[in-house]
C-alpha cells in the first residue's frame, strides 16, 4: 500500500503547443491507473500553474466555438471535478494583472466541489518538495 505523488507543473501558454493540455489529460489519467497497480497502491497528482502558465486558467475560453477543440478551461474544470489539487501562483497572477474573478477557481457548474488554490510560489515549492517525481510542462 503506497501512494506516489506526482507534481505536474505547468509553465507553458495554452494552444500554441499541446504542453498544458497534455499536463491535464495525463494528470486526469491518474483516475484509472489502479488497473496497472496492486490493491491499495495509487498515484496522486497535484497540478500547479506558474509563470505564463497561469494564463491557462482564464475564464471564457472559446476554443471549442472558434476551433472545435476542447478549451483548457474545460480540462481544468474536469480536473477539479475529480477533486484534484490545483495551485495557481499568486505572484504570477499579480504580475500579469489577473484577479481571482478572472480565473477558473471551481467547477461548480458541472457539479464539482473542489476549488483551485491561489498560493505563493513558496507554497508551490514546498508542494514540489513533497512529490516523488516532478514533471514540468
Amino acid at each position: 500500500m503506497a501512494t506516489v505523488k506526482l507534481g505536474f507543473i505547468v509553465k507553458s501558454l495554452p494552444y500554441k503547443t499541446e504542453a498544458s493540455r497534455l499536463a491535464l489529460t495525463h494528470a486526469i489519467a491518474s483516475q484509472t491507473v489502479e488497473i496497472y497497480l496492486e490493491d491499495g497502491d495509487m498515484v496522486e497528482p497535484v497540478v500547479a500553474f506558474i509563470g505564463d502558465g497561469v494564463l491557462n486558467c482564464l475564464k471564457n475560453q472559446k476554443a471549442m466555438n472558434m476551433y472545435g477543440v476542447t478549451s483548457l478551461e474545460q480540462h481544468l474544470k474536469n480536473s477539479l471535478l475529480l477533486d484534484m489539487r490545483v495551485l495557481i501562483c499568486k505572484e504570477d497572477m499579480e504580475k500579469l494583472g489577473l484577479s481571482e474573478d478572472a480565473l477558473i477557481m471551481d467547477a461548480e457548474d458541472i457539479g464539482g466541489e473542489t476549488k483551485a488554490n491561489i498560493a505563493p510560489f513558496s507554497e508551490i515549492m514546498k508542494e514540489m518538495d513533497s512529490t516523488n517525481h516532478l514533471l514540468f510542462f
Partner: protein, 98 residues
C-alpha cells in the same frame, strides 16, 4: 516597402520586431501574440503596442484564450480571418510571421 508583421507569440518578439524598418509597418497579433493586446505585465502594457500605428488582433485567437474585444488596447483593431485576407492583399506588400 509596406511590411505586415504577424506576431505569433508572447515572448521574444520585441528584438526582431524593433529592428524592422518599413515605409508602412503593420503589426498583426495572432495565436499567443494576442496576450500583448489584452494583458499588462507589472502594470505596464506591452512595449510592442508602441511599435506601429497600424495594429490588428485576430478575434478568433483572442476569444479562444478567454478575452473579448472590449478588453484590448484601443489602438488595436480586431480582425477576423476574412479581414486578415484583405489586410494581407491590400494593405501590405509583404507579410512575415515571427
Amino acid at each position: 516597402m509596406r511590411l505586415g508583421v504577424i506576431v505569433s507569440d508572447f515572448r521574444n518578439m520585441d528584438e526582431t520586431l524593433s529592428r524592422l524598418k518599413a515605409d508602412k509597418l503593420g503589426v498583426i497579433f495572432v495565436s499567443n501574440g494576442v496576450y500583448h493586446t489584452a494583458t499588462k505585465e507589472g502594470g505596464k502594457k506591452s512595449p510592442l503596442l508602441e511599435k506601429s500605428p497600424n495594429m490588428y488582433v485576430l478575434t478568433e485567437d483572442l476569444q479562444s484564450r478567454g478575452f473579448s474585444e472590449v478588453q484590448i488596447d484601443s489602438r488595436v483593431k480586431p480582425v477576423t480571418y476574412s479581414d486578415l485576407v484583405d489586410v494581407i492583399f491590400n494593405d501590405y506588400d509583404k507579410t512575415i510571421w515571427i
